[in-house]
C-alpha cells in the first residue's frame, strides 16, 4: 500500500464568536499557514477536500464561499463532506492511496456562534421519531452519562476530574478556548454540569497530506497514517448500549490500533462522559497521554473538532513527542459514528 502522511497542521484560535469574520475570512489564515509550513502553493495541491455543515451557518452551500480561500479558479480537483473534516481527510487519504495525486489539502471549520448549536444538532436526528421532540445535544449526552453512572463505570466526581484534566492540559495550547481551572457549574441537563460540556466555539483547521518521498521532502518527520477506518451504529439510541462504543472498537481494530501500544491518544469526546466510553473501547491504559491538547472540552468548533484531534496527534509526531498515536473523531448523537486513525513517526 502507498505510504501517506500528514505533513502539516494549522488551526485558528478557537473563540466563542467570530462575527467580525465571514467563513472564508476565518479559514484563509489557517490555509495559508499549512501551505507556508510545506512551501507549497495552492496550485501545487493535487486534491482539496473540506468538511462543514450548512446548518451551522443557516445557509445552503455555505462551504462554496470558503473555496475562495483555496484559489478555486480555474477549477481544481475538490470535494466536500457535510461532516467533520476528519471524514474529509479520510476521502483525501483514499484519493492519495489510489495514486491519482501526491498531495492533498484538507480543511474544515465550524462557526457555531450565529445559531444555537444545541438546537441545530437536533436536526441530524431521526426525523420521524426523535427530531419532533427536539432533544438537544446536551440532553442526549446526559442520557448516556446517566447510563454510565447506573452501570457503575463512572460518577460525577470522576467526570469532573476529566473536565479538570482536559482544561489543565489546554493551558499549554495557545489556540484553546477554555483553559485552566473552570468551575463545574450547575447542571445543564443532569447529570451533566456546564463543566462536563464543551464550549460553543468558532474555529478552523487544516492539514496537508502527502505520499511517499513527497512527504519526506515536505516534512522532517512525517506523521505516517498506518491505518484509518470509520464505523457507524444504529441511529436509534434505544437500540444501542450507550455505555459502550462497538463502532470505535471495530474501527480501531481495522485501523491497526491494537497491533502495538500507542503513547498518545487524541479523542474527540465533546462530553466528559464520552471519554469514559472511548477509553474503554480503545483499551487505553493510564500510560497513554490522553488529549494533551485539551480536546473538545477546551475548544469545540463543530465539524472541525475531529480533524483537530488528528492534527494535534500528527503535530506531536512532527515534534518528536510521540512515536505512535491514535486519533479519533466522532459525529452524531452519543458517539454514533466514529473514525479512528493510527499515526506513526519513523524511528529517530
Amino acid at each position: 500500500m502507498r505510504e501517506v502522511a500528514i505533513v502539516a497542521f494549522a488551526q485558528s484560535d478557537h473563540v466563542r464568536t467570530s462575527d467580525e469574520q465571514s467563513e472564508v475570512e476565518m479559514v484563509m489564515p489557517v490555509l495559508h499557514q499549512v501551505l507556508e509550513q510545506t512551501g507549497l502553493k495552492t496550485s501545487d495541491i493535487g486534491f482539496t477536500c473540506s468538511g462543514s455543515s450548512d446548518y451551522l451557518a443557516g445557509r445552503a452551500f455555505s462551504f462554496t464561499m470558503t473555496l475562495d480561500g483555496v484559489g478555486a479558479w480555474p477549477p481544481i480537483s475538490e470535494s466536500h463532506v457535510e461532516m467533520d473534516g476528519a471524514w474529509a481527510m479520510y476521502e483525501a487519504w483514499v484519493k492519495l492511496l489510489t495514486g491519482e495525486v501526491d498531495t492533498a489539502l484538507v480543511y474544515s471549520y465550524g462557526k457555531s456562534s450565529p445559531g444555537s448549536v444545541r438546537d441545530v444538532l437536533t436536526r441530524q436526528l431521526d426525523p420521524y421519531y426523535v427530531a419532533p421532540l427536539w432533544p438537544d445535544a446536551v440532553a442526549l449526552a446526559a442520557l448516556q452519562a446517566q447510563a454510565l453512572i447506573d452501570a457503575g463505570e463512572t460518577d460525577e466526581p470522576a467526570l469532573a476530574g476529566i473536565a479538570a484534566r482536559s482544561r489543565e492540559s489546554a493551558s499549554t495550547n495557545s489556540h484553546a478556548q477554555l483553559t485552566g481551572s473552570v468551575p463545574q457549574g450547575d447542571y445543564l441537563v443532569q447529570p451533566l454540569r456546564k463543566g462536563d460540556c464543551p464550549p460553543v466555539s468558532d474555529g478552523a483547521v487544516a492539514v496537508i497530506l502527502a505520499a511517499g518521498d513527497k512527504a519526506r521532502e515536505l516534512c522532517e518527520r512525517p506523521a505516517w497514517i498506518r491505518g484509518m477506518d470509520h464505523r457507524i451504529e444504529a441511529h436509534s439510541l434505544g437500540v444501542r448500549d450507550l455505555t459502550d462504543s462497538p463502532s470505535t472498537r471495530l474501527a480501531a481494530e481495522r485501523a491497526g490500533v491494537f497491533e502495538r501500544p500507542v503513547d498518545t491518544a487524541e479523542l474527540h469526546a465533546p462530553f466528559t462522559s464520552q471519554e469514559v466510553v472511548l477509553r474503554k473501547a480503545l483499551g487505553l491504559g493510564d500510560d497513554v497521554t490522553l488529549n494533551p491538547s485539551g480536546g473538545a472540552l477546551a475548544a469545540n468548533p463543530v465539524m472541525a473538532a475531529g480533524l483537530l484531534r488528528i492534527g494535534e496527534a500528527a503535530a506531536r509526531i512532527h515534534r518528536g513527542e510521540s512515536d505512535r498515536a491514535v486519533a479519533h473523531a466522532t459525529s452524531g448523537p452519543c458517539l454514533q459514528q466514529n473514525l479512528v486513525a493510527v499515526l506513526e513517526g519513523e524511528a529517530r
Partner: protein
C-alpha cells in the same frame, strides 16, 4: 474599523416526509392509542419499529402490539425546557423499554423533580388529547405504580382505517447572521449610495461585492476601491414568470452589470427602457428609491454602447 453588521435570520421549513409501511402503522397506531413494535428474525421486538433490522439490514415487517407501560432504562433531568420540547415545565428525558419490547423509546417524563426519577422506575404513556399520527401523540410518560401485565405481545396486522402516510416535520432555527468584514463594508457604503469593491493584492482584480478573498489567488483582498456608479450590461435575460411577493410588472429584464472599475459583474434589474431593447454593452446607472438600501434598478445612461472588447472578460 466599524462594527460588523448583524441581523436576525430565521430558517424555517415544513419538511414533508412520507412513511413506509412500518412507520405508517406505528404512527397511525399512536393516533389510536395502540403501540406497535416490529419483530426481528431473532425474535427481538423493536419499539419504535423500523423497516430494516439495524444489525442484519434484513427487511422486517412482523408487527406486534406492546403495552403502553414500561421501565425507564436511562434518564436525564432537563431543568430548562427549550422550544419545541414535549413539556414546557422541567421534565426528565427518558429512554423507556415498554413492556413486551426489547429496545427503548426516547421521550419525556413528567415528574416533580430529579429525586422522583430513577432508572428502573415504572412509567406509562400519557396520550395527547389531540392525536394526528405523530410521535407527539405520546404527550409524555408519567410515573406508574403497576407491574407489567405479563401478557405476551400479540401479532397485529397494522391495518387501521385512514392510515397516515406522511408527517410534516416543522423545523425552525434562529440565527444572528453576520456577513463579516468585507461585506459589511460593502453594505455600509451602499447606505451612502456608493459601491465599493476590494482589490486582490496579487492579480489586481476588483471584486464587487467583495467577499474578503480572491477566488483565483486564494488571498485576502484588503484594499477598498470605489467603483461605478455607471456600468455595462454584460448579459441579461427577460423574466416572464412572476416571483412570489414581487411587485414588478412582467416582463422585466434581469442583467449582469459590470460597474466601471470592477472585474466581476453584479446582478440587477434593468428598467427605463423597453424590455426588448436591452442589449449587451448597454451603458446603465443605478436608480435609488427614497430610503432604499440598494439600487432599485439600473437605467440607461444614454451613452453609446460599450465596445465588446472592453467587457468580454467579464461575460
Amino acid at each position: 474599523m466599524p462594527e460588523v453588521l448583524k441581523a436576525p435570520l430565521v430558517v424555517e421549513f415544513p419538511f414533508t416526509r412520507s412513511l413506509g409501511p412500518v412507520q405508517s402503522a406505528f404512527l397511525t397506531g399512536l393516533r389510536e392509542q395502540t403501540v406497535l413494535g416490529v419483530k426481528t428474525s431473532e425474535g427481538k421486538i423493536l419499539v419504535p419499529p423500523v423497516e430494516y433490522d439495524p444489525v442484519t439490514a434484513e427487511e422486517i415487517r412482523d408487527l406486534v402490539q406492546v403495552d403502553a407501560t414500561g421501565t425507564v432504562t436511562t434518564w436525564a433531568w432537563n431543568p430548562e425546557p427549550r422550544r419545541g420540547q414535549p413539556l414546557d415545565t422541567a421534565f426528565a428525558w427518558v429512554l423507556v423499554k415498554l413492556d413486551g419490547a426489547d429496545t427503548a423509546l426516547l421521550h419525556a417524563l413528567d415528574a416533580p423533580g430529579p429525586d422522583a426519577v430513577h432508572s428502573g422506575m415504572r412509567v406509562r404513556v400519557r396520550w395527547a388529547a389531540e392525536r394526528t399520527g405523530a410521535i407527539t401523540d405520546i404527550a409524555c410518560f408519567e410515573p406508574y405504580e403497576g407491574d407489567a401485565s405479563g401478557t405476551e405481545p400479540a401479532a397485529h396486522d397494522g391495518q387501521f382505517d385512514d392510515a397516515v402516510s406522511g408527517i410534516v416535520a416543522r423545523a425552525r432555527l434562529d440565527y444572528t447572521y453576520s456577513p463579516g468584514r468585507a461585506q459589511t463594508a460593502y453594505i455600509n457604503a451602499l447606505a451612502d449610495r456608493k459601491a465599493v469593491g476590494e482589490r486582490c493584492p496579487n492579480c489586481s482584480k476588483v471584486y464587487v461585492p467583495p467577499r474578503g478573498a480572491c477566488p483565483t489567488c486564494g488571498v485576502a483582498t484588503a484594499e477598498r476601491v470605489e467603483v461605478g456608479p455607471a456600468g455595462t450590461v454584460t448579459t441579461f435575460c427577460i423574466v416572464n414568470v412572476k416571483a412570489k411577493n414581487l411587485d414588478i410588472e412582467l416582463p422585466y429584464v434581469y442583467g449582469h452589470i459590470a460597474l466601471d472599475g470592477a472585474d466581476l459583474a453584479l446582478h440587477g434589474r434593468i428598467a427605463g427602457i423597453p424590455y426588448d431593447q436591452v442589449r449587451m454593452g448597454l451603458r446603465v446607472e443605478p436608480v435609488w428609491t427614497e430610503g432604499g438600501r440598494y439600487p432599485d434598478h439600473y437605467r440607461p445612461t444614454g451613452e453609446p454602447d460599450a465596445d465588446y472588447d472592453t467587457y468580454k472578460e467579464l461575460v
